[in-house]
Every structure is written in C-alpha cells, then in structure tokens.
Amino acid sequence: MAALINVPAKAKHGDVIEIRTLTSHIMETGFRHTADGKLVPRDIITSFTCRYNGAEIFRADLFPAIAANPYLSFFTVAKESGKFEFEWTGDNGYSSTASASIAVE
C-alpha cells in the first residue's frame, strides 16, 4: 500500500510542475511459470488516476509490460492551492490511494 509521492510544496500560479509517483506492487505478468510448470496468475495494477481539486488531470492504463512497483511521472499547470489525489486500481479488486497538497501563490 505504500506510495511515494513527489509534488512541489509551493509553486507560482501558472508554473508547469512535475508530479512523480511510485507505488509498491508486484505487477505479476501472468506469463511466468513456477518451477513445476504452473502458470502464475496475473496480478497487476490496470489503472492510475490523478485528480487536482477533484478534476482529473492525468490517467494511465497499465499493462503487464510496466515494471514492478510502477513509477509514473507527468506534468500539470499549478492553478490553485489544493490537493492532488492519486488512485491505483487493479486485478483482484486492488485499490490504493494517496494524496499531496500544494500551495500556489
């Protein structure tokens, strides 16, 4: 469930800021076999969403080709002080959230 979020604490109005997220997840591809030949079932995060004061600013569909512990970096324009909310959802009902706040001058 652990997630690392990197958002600048402060920004000027109109600045383009980078948001970096890292979450812990095995991202089991569903293509691997155990030593006795059994297929290891797929267990991945399939979707990531970032909302800025409620409005969606970034979304991603993830596939088994995304490495374990998915890292994502993207950009947004700092418009107003408030909160970023992050949500990861995936196989077997996986769901995890995190948030970060920003002060915009």
Binding site: F31, R32, A60, A65, S73, F74
Partner: protein, 155 residues
C-alpha cells in the same frame, strides 16, 4: 552462414556502446509483426500515422529487461486548441503488444510522461501520440536487451 537481421542489430548495438555515442535507430514502421500493427490500429483506427513530433528516451542497450526507464515527450504548445490527448506505447516482442496508455489534457502544461517498463527481448518500442486535432504521430526505437523480463521461472 549468412548474417541474419538479429545478428546485425546486436552487432550494431554493441558497436554503438563501444563508440560511446548512444544512437537510437529511428526507422519507419514498415515490417512490424502483426500483433504490434494490430495493437496500433486498435488505437489509431484508419487514420494515417505520421513520423515525428514524438521523442522516445530509452537506453539503446539494456542489461536487465525487468526495469527499463522510458520517457516519452511530444512537441506541443499544450493550449486549449492544440494539445496532446494521449500517448500510447507499444512493443514488438513481449507476450502482449501494449505497454501503457497515458491520457493528458491542456492543463498538463507539458506533454511528457516517464515510467519504467519490461522488455522480454531485443526489440522495437513504438510511441504514438494523438493530438487534439486527431492526427497521430509516432516514433520507434530499437533496444538491445541482454537479460529478458516476463517469462523467467518463478523461484
């Protein structure tokens, strides 16, 4: 024995490293395996795909295919009338052709996304961007992988 394309590419990759000039070969998408083409058509539909505007930053030689850093950026002013709607990344030889879809909007400010991916073999990675006028732009990069991901046995 005649030199195969694969041998040639791995030699070319080795020479690139020896020369310390990291060159990512960029070629038009002529002879791609059917799965990659189908996956791209699934996103693009019948629209024409042009080469350019998209930049794919990925190491040309990768020791461990389990985690390969990748950055896709698109040249765009990112205004309300001219912005990047989405970025789609595909591969040629993993068990599945999709890597990720990333959806942006004018408030993204900069059309750039980074993540870490898995590569099961020495292969080509393709990034396609959909702009707000529904034109599609792409770039392809060849990557040499020495340790493959995805299909190894689980301990």
């Amino acid at each position: 024995m005649p030199t195969t394309r694969r041998q040639f590419l791995s030699l070319a990759g080795g020479a690139t490293v020896a020369g310390t000039i990291p060159i990512v070969t960029i070629r038009p998408l002529d002879a791609t395996p059917a799965m990659l083409t189908a996956a791209i058509r699934n996103v693009v539909g019948e629209a024409q795909i042009r080469t350019g505007r998209v930049k794919l930053d990925i190491p040309p030689l990768v020791e461990n295919g389990n985690t390969v850093p990748m950055t896709v950026s698109v040249t765009s002013p990112m205004t309300a009338n001219d912005y990047v709607k989405s970025i789609h990344v595909f591969n040629e030889k993993n068990p599945q052709p999709n890597i990720g879809n990333f959806y942006l909007n004018p408030s993204s400010g900069r059309a750039q996304v980074s993540t870490r991916i898995r590569l099961a073999d020495t292969q080509k990675v393709v990034a396609v961007a959909r702009l707000s006028d529904d034109t599609f732009w792409q770039v392809a990069a060849d990557i040499v992988v020495t340790l493959a991901a995805c299909t190894e046995e689980m301990n």
